[in-house]
Amino acid sequence: MLIVIGIMFLGIVVGYFIRSKKVIIKISDKLIMWAIYLLLFLLGITIGSNRIIVDNLANLGLNALAITIGGIAGSLITAWAGYRIWFKPKERDHAK
């Protein structure tokens, strides 16, 4: 799977050098959409033909929701702390 990351960085370098070729970039963007559609369509087929997963779909959704809430809540807390320490404009004259 590290190959995939290497391929992405190769793409970044190639993309940088051909950034003025708007037509190629446009075609590339279109292809990305279709590659994603295709892969998720294939994932859908795999899921749909798997009875165990289909029967558990609601359950999987609940697990997904739990992970999302956890990730967002954690991010909110660290973002809040980081904002107070490094970003918030200093209040110089507040009473103690």
């Binding site: 970044i12 990305i32 892969l39 998720l40 087929i45 749909g48 033909s49 992970i67 990730g71 973002a79």
Partner: protein, 199 residues
């Protein structure tokens, strides 16, 4: 790049096709999808390299701005740890991998399907779509109660495109560049972190 409705539609059609077994078994073979994945990653790379925003992101890079993706990564990791304690059926790395999708559901679900299982891939798809939707709906509340970086951190990788307008509205224009840089960095990190966690 993340046209959520169309993507979901393709996924749902796929589920129906699979469920009513219209599809020949051969299509489901994995070799095919890993080649599609290689192509996809190359194209995603080209998109990042050619995007003037990525260049802007690297020029606007400084110590404080670089911290913001770190907040998101640390926060998501802590959140995943709590969820792990509540959902004992999962390993910590499985939950962490889903969390490290940072809202980039198309890529993370495909990666996780390849690296772990279809089941976790579906969880990643749903969880990361929810991350985007919740951020879209709650960005102003997040900014109000948790400060101006909060909507950015909640948006994860989507803070560079789909959630950028609402973040700019909630946190102010001066945070648009921070949001953009945050999204670019996390988008590049999604495949890297997911792979590291699951291998």
């Amino acid at each position: 790049m993340r046209n959520s409705f169309t993507i979901l539609l393709f996924f749902v059609i796929g589920v129906l096709v699979g469920f009513y077994s219209f599809a020949p078994i051969i299509i489901i073979e994995n070799d095919f999808s890993s080649w599609a994945l290689y192509l996809l990653m190359f194209l995603v790379g080209i998109g990042i390299g050619a995007d003037p925003n990525s260049l802007k992101a690297f020029r606007g890079f400084n110590f404080r701005v670089a911290l913001v993706p770190l907040f998101t990564i640390i926060g998501t990791t802590l959140g995943a740890l709590v969820v792990y304690l509540l959902l004992p059926n999962f390993t910590f790395t499985d939950i962490l991998a889903v969390g490290y999708g940072f809202g980039y559901y198309s890529l993370s679900s495909i990666f996780i399907t390849e690296l772990r299982s279809e089941e976790l891939g579906v969880i990643a798809l749903l969880a990361n779509i929810m991350r985007e939707i919740i951020t879209l709906l709650s960005a102003p509340l997040f900014a109000l109660y948790f400060g101006k970086l909060a909507p950015i951190a909640a948006g994860g990788a989507t803070s560079m495109d789909t959630t950028l307008p609402i973040i700019t509205k909630a946190s102010g224009k001066e945070y648009a560049m921070v949001s953009l840089i945050h999204g670019v960095i996390l988008s590049i990190l999604v495949p890297i972190l997911v792979t590291l966690v699951l291998s």
